[in-house]
Protein backbone atom coordinates (compact mmCIF):
# COMPACT_ATOMS: atom_id res chain seq x y z
CA UNK A 1 0.00 0.00 0.00
CA UNK A 2 2.80 2.42 0.87
CA UNK A 3 4.47 1.68 -2.45
CA UNK A 4 1.21 2.57 -4.22
CA UNK A 5 0.96 5.81 -2.26
CA UNK A 6 4.59 6.62 -3.02
CA UNK A 7 3.84 6.38 -6.75
CA UNK A 8 2.13 9.79 -7.12
CA UNK A 9 4.82 11.41 -4.94
CA UNK A 10 7.47 10.03 -7.27
CA UNK A 11 5.36 10.99 -10.29
CA UNK A 12 5.16 7.45 -11.60
CA UNK A 13 2.57 4.81 -12.37
CA UNK A 14 3.63 2.28 -9.80
CA UNK A 15 2.09 -0.64 -11.70
CA UNK A 16 4.19 0.15 -14.75
CA UNK A 17 7.41 1.41 -13.11
CA UNK A 18 7.65 0.74 -9.40
CA UNK A 19 11.34 1.67 -9.22
CA UNK A 20 10.85 5.41 -8.69
CA UNK A 21 8.19 4.81 -6.02
CA UNK A 22 10.51 2.47 -4.15
CA UNK A 23 13.30 5.03 -4.41
CA UNK A 24 10.93 7.54 -2.81
CA UNK A 25 10.34 5.05 0.01
CA UNK A 26 14.10 4.50 0.32
CA UNK A 27 14.65 8.25 0.65
CA UNK A 28 12.74 8.31 3.95
CA UNK A 29 14.16 5.02 5.25
CA UNK A 30 16.27 6.64 7.96
CA UNK A 31 13.19 8.34 9.41
CA UNK A 32 11.34 5.04 9.75
CA UNK A 33 11.82 3.25 13.06
CA UNK A 34 9.76 0.18 12.20
CA UNK A 35 7.09 -1.10 9.87
CA UNK A 36 4.94 -2.59 12.59
CA UNK A 37 2.77 -5.69 12.34
CA UNK A 38 0.07 -4.93 14.90
CA UNK A 39 -1.64 -1.88 16.35
CA UNK A 40 -0.49 -2.90 19.83
CA UNK A 41 3.14 -2.87 18.71
CA UNK A 42 2.70 0.62 17.29
CA UNK A 43 1.05 1.89 20.50
CA UNK A 44 3.99 0.48 22.48
CA UNK A 45 6.39 2.29 20.17
CA UNK A 46 4.52 5.55 20.74
CA UNK A 47 4.27 5.13 24.50
CA UNK A 48 7.99 4.32 24.84
CA UNK A 49 8.95 7.39 22.81
CA UNK A 50 10.34 5.32 19.98
CA UNK A 51 8.07 7.02 17.43
CA UNK A 52 6.29 10.38 17.35
CA UNK A 53 4.40 9.95 14.07
CA UNK A 54 2.71 6.86 12.67
CA UNK A 55 0.40 5.81 9.92
CA UNK A 56 -2.34 3.92 11.69
CA UNK A 57 -5.92 2.75 11.55
CA UNK A 58 -8.54 4.78 13.34
CA UNK A 59 -9.49 2.03 15.79
CA UNK A 60 -6.13 2.57 17.55
CA UNK A 61 -6.86 6.23 18.29
CA UNK A 62 -8.56 5.74 21.68
CA UNK A 63 -5.75 3.51 22.97
CA UNK A 64 -3.09 5.80 21.47
CA UNK A 65 -4.57 8.77 23.30
CA UNK A 66 -4.64 6.77 26.52
CA UNK A 67 -0.94 5.96 26.08
CA UNK A 68 0.15 9.37 24.77
CA UNK A 69 -2.36 12.07 25.78
CA UNK A 70 -0.73 14.72 23.57
CA UNK A 71 -1.13 12.73 20.37
CA UNK A 72 -3.43 14.13 17.67
CA UNK A 73 -4.95 12.71 14.49
CA UNK A 74 -3.50 14.58 11.52
CA UNK A 75 -5.93 15.61 8.80
CA UNK A 76 -4.12 14.85 5.57
CA UNK A 77 -4.64 17.59 3.02
CA UNK A 78 -4.88 15.11 0.16
CA UNK A 79 -7.27 12.83 2.01
CA UNK A 80 -6.96 9.82 4.32
CA UNK A 81 -6.39 6.32 3.02
CA UNK A 82 -9.33 3.91 3.04
CA UNK A 83 -8.53 0.56 4.63
CA UNK A 84 -11.51 -1.67 5.14
CA UNK A 85 -12.47 -4.24 7.70
CA UNK A 86 -14.17 -6.95 5.71
CA UNK A 87 -16.33 -9.89 6.68
CA UNK A 88 -15.72 -12.76 4.30
CA UNK A 89 -17.59 -15.99 3.72
CA UNK A 90 -15.12 -18.56 2.40
CA UNK A 91 -16.03 -20.36 -0.78
CA UNK A 92 -17.66 -23.67 0.13
CA UNK A 93 -18.47 -22.54 3.70
CA UNK A 94 -20.84 -24.96 5.43
CA UNK A 95 -23.02 -22.42 7.25
CA UNK A 96 -23.61 -19.56 4.81
CA UNK A 97 -26.98 -18.68 6.34
CA UNK A 98 -25.44 -18.37 9.80
CA UNK A 99 -22.71 -16.17 8.33
CA UNK A 100 -25.38 -13.89 6.84
CA UNK A 101 -27.11 -13.73 10.21
CA UNK A 102 -23.80 -12.73 11.82
CA UNK A 103 -23.30 -9.98 9.24
CA UNK A 104 -26.83 -8.75 9.93
CA UNK A 105 -25.99 -8.80 13.63
CA UNK A 106 -22.87 -6.64 13.34
CA UNK A 107 -24.67 -4.22 11.00
CA UNK A 108 -27.62 -3.84 13.36
CA UNK A 109 -28.01 -0.22 14.55
CA UNK A 110 -27.55 -1.04 18.24
CA UNK A 111 -24.31 -2.98 17.64
CA UNK A 112 -22.99 -0.33 15.23
CA UNK A 113 -23.63 2.34 17.85
CA UNK A 114 -21.95 0.30 20.59
CA UNK A 115 -18.88 -0.42 18.45
CA UNK A 116 -18.59 3.24 17.52
CA UNK A 117 -19.05 4.46 21.08
CA UNK A 118 -16.45 2.00 22.40
CA UNK A 119 -13.92 3.24 19.83
CA UNK A 120 -13.75 -0.13 18.05
CA UNK A 121 -14.93 0.44 14.48
CA UNK A 122 -16.45 3.44 12.79
CA UNK A 123 -20.12 2.94 11.96
CA UNK A 124 -20.84 1.74 8.45
CA UNK A 125 -24.33 3.24 8.57
CA UNK A 126 -24.35 6.76 7.15
CA UNK A 127 -27.36 7.75 9.31
CA UNK A 128 -25.69 6.80 12.61
CA UNK A 129 -25.80 9.65 15.15
CA UNK A 130 -23.12 9.72 17.87
CA UNK A 131 -22.85 11.83 20.96
CA UNK A 132 -20.12 14.50 20.75
CA UNK A 133 -18.06 12.51 23.28
CA UNK A 134 -18.28 9.31 21.21
CA UNK A 135 -17.68 11.19 17.97
CA UNK A 136 -14.44 12.60 19.45
CA UNK A 137 -13.04 9.05 19.53
CA UNK A 138 -13.60 8.70 15.80
CA UNK A 139 -11.45 10.10 13.06
CA UNK A 140 -13.99 10.25 10.30
CA UNK A 141 -17.13 12.03 9.33
CA UNK A 142 -18.88 12.83 6.09
CA UNK A 143 -16.06 15.16 4.99
CA UNK A 144 -13.27 12.64 5.51
CA UNK A 145 -15.26 9.78 3.99
CA UNK A 146 -15.90 11.88 0.90
CA UNK A 147 -12.16 12.50 0.42
CA UNK A 148 -10.92 8.98 1.13
CA UNK A 149 -8.32 7.57 -1.20
CA UNK A 150 -9.36 4.11 -2.34
CA UNK A 151 -6.88 1.30 -2.82
CA UNK A 152 -7.23 -1.08 -5.75
CA UNK A 153 -6.56 -4.21 -3.74
CA UNK A 154 -6.84 -6.60 -6.69
CA UNK A 155 -4.08 -4.81 -8.62
CA UNK A 156 -2.04 -4.33 -5.46
CA UNK A 157 -2.22 -8.01 -4.49
CA UNK A 158 -1.21 -9.05 -7.99
CA UNK A 159 1.85 -6.80 -7.94
CA UNK A 160 2.89 -6.84 -4.29
CA UNK A 161 5.16 -9.91 -4.42
CA UNK A 162 7.93 -8.06 -6.22
CA UNK A 163 7.34 -4.92 -4.19
CA UNK A 164 7.74 -6.80 -0.90
CA UNK A 165 11.09 -8.19 -2.05
CA UNK A 166 12.35 -4.70 -2.87
CA UNK A 167 10.82 -3.34 0.35
CA UNK A 168 12.67 -6.00 2.36
CA UNK A 169 15.92 -5.09 0.65
CA UNK A 170 15.38 -1.43 1.58
CA UNK A 171 14.49 -1.96 5.23
CA UNK A 172 15.98 -5.33 6.15
CA UNK A 173 18.89 -5.88 3.78
Amino acid sequence: MFVMLAGPKAGTDVFAHEGAALEAVKAVKDDVVDNYQTGSAMINLASTGEVTVSITLDFTLARLRAAVPTIVWAQLTDGDIAVFNTVNIPKGAAEVELAHQFIDFILAPAIQKTLAEQGVDAPTRADEELTPEAAARRTCGAEQIGRLKRIDYARMNAAKGGWIDRWNEIFGG
Partner: protein
Protein backbone atom coordinates in the same frame (compact mmCIF):
# COMPACT_ATOMS: atom_id res chain seq x y z
CA UNK B 1 21.72 -60.01 20.96
CA UNK B 2 18.51 -59.68 22.98
CA UNK B 3 19.48 -56.43 24.65
CA UNK B 4 19.53 -54.20 21.53
CA UNK B 5 16.29 -55.77 20.35
CA UNK B 6 14.66 -54.97 23.68
CA UNK B 7 15.92 -51.40 23.40
CA UNK B 8 14.42 -50.96 19.96
CA UNK B 9 11.14 -52.51 21.13
CA UNK B 10 10.92 -50.24 24.14
CA UNK B 11 11.82 -47.23 22.04
CA UNK B 12 9.33 -48.00 19.28
CA UNK B 13 6.28 -46.18 20.76
CA UNK B 14 8.25 -42.98 21.37
CA UNK B 15 9.85 -43.25 17.93
CA UNK B 16 6.44 -43.69 16.32
CA UNK B 17 5.14 -40.65 18.23
CA UNK B 18 8.07 -38.50 17.11
CA UNK B 19 7.57 -39.70 13.53
CA UNK B 20 3.90 -38.79 13.72
CA UNK B 21 4.15 -35.34 15.29
CA UNK B 22 7.53 -34.21 13.96
CA UNK B 23 8.67 -36.01 10.83
CA UNK B 24 5.23 -36.15 9.16
CA UNK B 25 4.48 -32.40 9.38
CA UNK B 26 8.03 -31.41 8.46
CA UNK B 27 7.95 -33.86 5.56
CA UNK B 28 4.59 -32.46 4.43
CA UNK B 29 6.00 -28.92 4.60
CA UNK B 30 8.97 -29.85 2.45
CA UNK B 31 6.77 -31.82 0.05
CA UNK B 32 4.47 -28.80 -0.26
CA UNK B 33 7.26 -26.92 -2.02
CA UNK B 34 6.67 -28.92 -5.12
CA UNK B 35 3.07 -27.69 -5.35
CA UNK B 36 3.27 -26.55 -8.94
CA UNK B 37 6.75 -25.05 -9.02
CA UNK B 38 10.08 -26.81 -9.36
CA UNK B 39 11.65 -27.21 -5.90
CA UNK B 40 15.06 -26.52 -7.43
CA UNK B 41 13.81 -23.21 -8.84
CA UNK B 42 12.47 -22.18 -5.44
CA UNK B 43 15.76 -22.95 -3.68
CA UNK B 44 17.62 -21.21 -6.49
CA UNK B 45 15.38 -18.15 -6.05
CA UNK B 46 16.07 -18.15 -2.31
CA UNK B 47 19.84 -18.24 -2.65
CA UNK B 48 19.87 -15.90 -5.67
CA UNK B 49 18.43 -13.10 -3.53
CA UNK B 50 20.98 -11.06 -1.64
CA UNK B 51 18.33 -10.10 0.90
CA UNK B 52 17.40 -13.73 1.63
CA UNK B 53 21.06 -14.70 2.01
CA UNK B 54 21.49 -11.77 4.39
CA UNK B 55 18.52 -13.00 6.44
CA UNK B 56 19.96 -16.53 6.58
CA UNK B 57 23.45 -15.42 7.64
CA UNK B 58 22.03 -12.90 10.08
CA UNK B 59 19.96 -15.68 11.63
CA UNK B 60 22.96 -17.99 11.91
CA UNK B 61 25.03 -15.16 13.39
CA UNK B 62 22.41 -14.18 15.97
CA UNK B 63 21.78 -17.85 16.86
CA UNK B 64 25.51 -18.47 17.29
CA UNK B 65 26.08 -15.45 19.52
CA UNK B 66 22.87 -16.11 21.47
CA UNK B 67 23.86 -19.75 21.95
CA UNK B 68 27.33 -18.87 23.14
CA UNK B 69 26.05 -16.34 25.68
CA UNK B 70 23.19 -18.60 26.81
CA UNK B 71 25.60 -21.54 27.19
CA UNK B 72 28.07 -19.57 29.32
CA UNK B 73 25.45 -17.83 31.48
CA UNK B 74 23.28 -20.95 31.72
CA UNK B 75 26.19 -23.27 32.47
CA UNK B 76 27.67 -21.28 35.33
CA UNK B 77 24.25 -20.48 36.79
CA UNK B 78 23.32 -24.16 36.62
CA UNK B 79 26.68 -25.10 38.17
CA UNK B 80 26.05 -22.71 41.05
CA UNK B 81 22.53 -24.07 41.52
CA UNK B 82 23.66 -27.71 41.37
CA UNK B 83 26.39 -27.09 43.98
CA UNK B 84 24.14 -25.06 46.29
CA UNK B 85 22.79 -26.62 49.52
CA UNK B 86 19.90 -28.93 48.65
CA UNK B 87 17.29 -26.83 50.50
CA UNK B 88 18.18 -23.79 48.38
CA UNK B 89 18.18 -25.51 44.99
CA UNK B 90 14.43 -25.41 44.43
CA UNK B 91 14.29 -21.74 45.36
CA UNK B 92 17.19 -20.91 43.06
CA UNK B 93 15.68 -22.89 40.15
CA UNK B 94 12.34 -21.11 40.58
CA UNK B 95 14.16 -17.76 40.61
CA UNK B 96 16.18 -18.70 37.52
CA UNK B 97 13.19 -19.81 35.49
CA UNK B 98 10.71 -17.27 36.88
CA UNK B 99 10.64 -15.54 33.51
CA UNK B 100 9.13 -18.66 31.93
CA UNK B 101 5.94 -18.08 33.93
CA UNK B 102 5.00 -15.27 31.56
CA UNK B 103 4.23 -15.70 27.88
CA UNK B 104 6.85 -15.29 25.20
CA UNK B 105 4.99 -12.27 23.77
CA UNK B 106 4.96 -10.50 27.15
CA UNK B 107 8.64 -11.29 27.72
CA UNK B 108 9.55 -10.00 24.29
CA UNK B 109 7.53 -6.80 24.52
CA UNK B 110 9.03 -6.12 27.95
CA UNK B 111 12.20 -5.19 26.09
CA UNK B 112 10.37 -2.29 24.45
CA UNK B 113 9.83 -0.88 27.93
CA UNK B 114 13.40 -1.59 29.00
CA UNK B 115 15.28 -0.56 25.85
CA UNK B 116 12.95 2.14 24.44
CA UNK B 117 13.94 5.80 24.23
CA UNK B 118 11.74 6.50 27.25
CA UNK B 119 12.65 3.11 28.67
CA UNK B 120 14.13 2.05 31.97
CA UNK B 121 17.71 1.64 30.73
CA UNK B 122 17.83 4.98 28.91
CA UNK B 123 16.28 6.63 31.96
CA UNK B 124 18.97 5.15 34.20
CA UNK B 125 21.82 6.11 31.84
CA UNK B 126 20.63 9.71 31.72
CA UNK B 127 19.95 9.82 35.46
CA UNK B 128 23.48 8.54 36.13
CA UNK B 129 24.90 11.17 33.79
CA UNK B 130 26.37 8.54 31.47
CA UNK B 131 24.44 9.81 28.45
CA UNK B 132 22.89 13.18 27.64
CA UNK B 133 20.22 11.93 25.28
CA UNK B 134 18.35 8.63 24.82
CA UNK B 135 20.26 6.00 22.86
CA UNK B 136 18.60 4.11 20.01
CA UNK B 137 18.86 0.59 21.40
CA UNK B 138 15.80 -1.07 19.91
CA UNK B 139 15.84 -2.45 16.38
CA UNK B 140 19.51 -3.32 16.59
CA UNK B 141 21.12 -6.74 16.44
CA UNK B 142 22.18 -6.28 20.05
CA UNK B 143 18.54 -5.85 21.12
CA UNK B 144 17.56 -9.07 19.34
CA UNK B 145 20.42 -10.98 20.99
CA UNK B 146 19.51 -9.65 24.45
CA UNK B 147 15.84 -10.62 23.95
CA UNK B 148 16.79 -14.09 22.71
CA UNK B 149 19.29 -14.70 25.52
CA UNK B 150 16.68 -13.68 28.07
CA UNK B 151 14.23 -16.07 26.46
CA UNK B 152 16.49 -19.11 26.33
CA UNK B 153 18.81 -18.90 29.35
CA UNK B 154 16.09 -20.30 31.68
CA UNK B 155 15.66 -23.29 29.37
CA UNK B 156 19.42 -23.81 29.34
CA UNK B 157 19.55 -23.66 33.14
CA UNK B 158 16.71 -26.17 33.49
CA UNK B 159 18.46 -28.56 31.11
CA UNK B 160 21.89 -28.25 32.66
CA UNK B 161 20.93 -28.39 36.32
CA UNK B 162 19.75 -31.99 35.92
CA UNK B 163 22.94 -33.00 34.13
CA UNK B 164 25.26 -31.25 36.57
CA UNK B 165 23.42 -32.67 39.58
CA UNK B 166 24.03 -36.10 38.09
CA UNK B 167 27.82 -35.69 38.25
CA UNK B 168 28.82 -37.48 41.47
CA UNK B 169 30.44 -35.27 44.06
CA UNK B 170 32.84 -38.14 44.82
CA UNK B 171 34.14 -38.00 41.27
CA UNK B 172 34.97 -34.31 41.56
CA UNK B 173 36.60 -34.85 44.95
CA UNK B 174 38.59 -37.79 43.59
CA UNK B 175 39.77 -35.66 40.67
CA UNK B 176 40.69 -32.81 43.00
CA UNK B 177 42.64 -35.19 45.24
CA UNK B 178 45.03 -35.84 42.36
CA UNK B 179 46.28 -32.29 42.66
CA UNK B 180 45.00 -30.36 39.63
CA UNK B 181 43.87 -26.76 39.88
CA UNK B 182 40.12 -26.12 40.15
CA UNK B 183 40.23 -24.85 36.57
CA UNK B 184 41.83 -28.09 35.38
CA UNK B 185 39.24 -30.16 37.30
CA UNK B 186 36.53 -28.15 35.65
CA UNK B 187 38.07 -28.47 32.19
CA UNK B 188 38.97 -32.16 32.36
CA UNK B 189 36.18 -33.62 34.51
CA UNK B 190 33.10 -31.43 35.00
CA UNK B 191 32.87 -29.93 31.53
CA UNK B 192 33.21 -33.18 29.53
CA UNK B 193 30.60 -34.84 31.73
CA UNK B 194 28.24 -31.89 31.17
CA UNK B 195 28.59 -32.04 27.38
CA UNK B 196 25.38 -34.08 26.83
CA UNK B 197 23.43 -31.38 28.70
CA UNK B 198 25.10 -28.67 26.65
CA UNK B 199 24.09 -30.42 23.45
CA UNK B 200 20.48 -30.80 24.59
CA UNK B 201 20.48 -27.24 25.91
CA UNK B 202 21.86 -25.87 22.66
CA UNK B 203 19.36 -27.87 20.63
CA UNK B 204 16.36 -26.77 22.67
CA UNK B 205 17.63 -23.25 23.09
CA UNK B 206 18.07 -20.61 20.42
CA UNK B 207 16.91 -22.62 17.42
CA UNK B 208 18.20 -21.52 14.07
CA UNK B 209 14.73 -21.09 12.61
CA UNK B 210 14.28 -18.57 15.41
CA UNK B 211 10.83 -17.94 16.83
CA UNK B 212 9.39 -14.79 15.26
CA UNK B 213 8.17 -12.89 18.32
CA UNK B 214 11.42 -11.81 20.06
CA UNK B 215 13.22 -10.69 16.87
CA UNK B 216 10.06 -8.95 15.65
CA UNK B 217 9.57 -7.08 18.94
CA UNK B 218 13.20 -6.14 19.55
CA UNK B 219 14.56 -6.05 16.01
CA UNK B 220 11.62 -5.19 13.80
CA UNK B 221 11.95 -5.35 10.05
CA UNK B 222 15.51 -4.06 10.11
CA UNK B 223 16.73 -7.21 11.86
CA UNK B 224 14.65 -9.71 9.95
CA UNK B 225 15.62 -13.33 10.63
CA UNK B 226 14.37 -16.61 9.20
CA UNK B 227 11.48 -16.78 11.68
CA UNK B 228 10.15 -13.31 10.90
CA UNK B 229 10.80 -13.78 7.19
CA UNK B 230 8.88 -17.05 7.25
CA UNK B 231 6.01 -15.31 9.04
CA UNK B 232 5.97 -12.57 6.41
CA UNK B 233 5.93 -15.05 3.54
CA UNK B 234 3.15 -17.15 5.06
CA UNK B 235 0.96 -14.47 6.63
CA UNK B 236 1.53 -11.33 4.53
CA UNK B 237 2.39 -12.61 1.08
CA UNK B 238 0.44 -15.86 1.49
CA UNK B 239 3.20 -17.43 -0.61
CA UNK B 240 3.15 -20.95 0.77
CA UNK B 241 5.72 -22.51 -1.59
CA UNK B 242 8.23 -19.76 -0.70
CA UNK B 243 7.37 -20.13 3.01
CA UNK B 244 7.87 -23.89 2.75
CA UNK B 245 11.23 -23.34 1.06
CA UNK B 246 12.31 -21.01 3.86
CA UNK B 247 11.08 -23.50 6.48
CA UNK B 248 12.92 -26.38 4.78
CA UNK B 249 16.18 -24.39 4.66
CA UNK B 250 15.76 -23.45 8.33
CA UNK B 251 15.19 -27.11 9.25
CA UNK B 252 18.24 -28.14 7.23
CA UNK B 253 20.37 -25.55 9.05
CA UNK B 254 19.07 -26.76 12.40
CA UNK B 255 19.82 -30.41 11.58
CA UNK B 256 23.31 -29.43 10.38
CA UNK B 257 23.96 -27.55 13.63
CA UNK B 258 22.71 -30.44 15.78
CA UNK B 259 24.87 -32.92 13.83
CA UNK B 260 27.90 -30.65 14.18
CA UNK B 261 27.26 -30.27 17.91
CA UNK B 262 26.89 -34.03 18.32
CA UNK B 263 30.18 -34.58 16.51
CA UNK B 264 31.86 -32.01 18.71
CA UNK B 265 30.39 -33.71 21.77
CA UNK B 266 31.84 -37.07 20.70
CA UNK B 267 35.23 -35.45 20.38
CA UNK B 268 35.01 -33.77 23.80
CA UNK B 269 33.57 -36.80 25.56
CA UNK B 270 33.45 -40.06 23.59
CA UNK B 271 31.08 -41.54 26.17
CA UNK B 272 28.63 -38.66 25.92
CA UNK B 273 26.58 -39.74 22.94
Amino acid sequence: MREPLTGWTLGAPATALVALILIAPVGATIADISGGASPFALYQAFFASGFRRTVLWRTVGIATITSAIALVVGFFTALAVSRAPRRWRSVLIVMAVFALLTGVVVRSFAWLIILGRNGILNGFLQWAGITDAPLAMLYTQGAVIVAMVYLFVPLMILTLVGVLEGIPEDLIRAAASLGPSPAATFRQVIFPLAVPGLIVGRSSCPPDPSPPVPPAAAGGERQMVMGTFLHQQAMVRLDWPAASTTAAIAVAVTIAVVLAMTRLARRLNPAAT
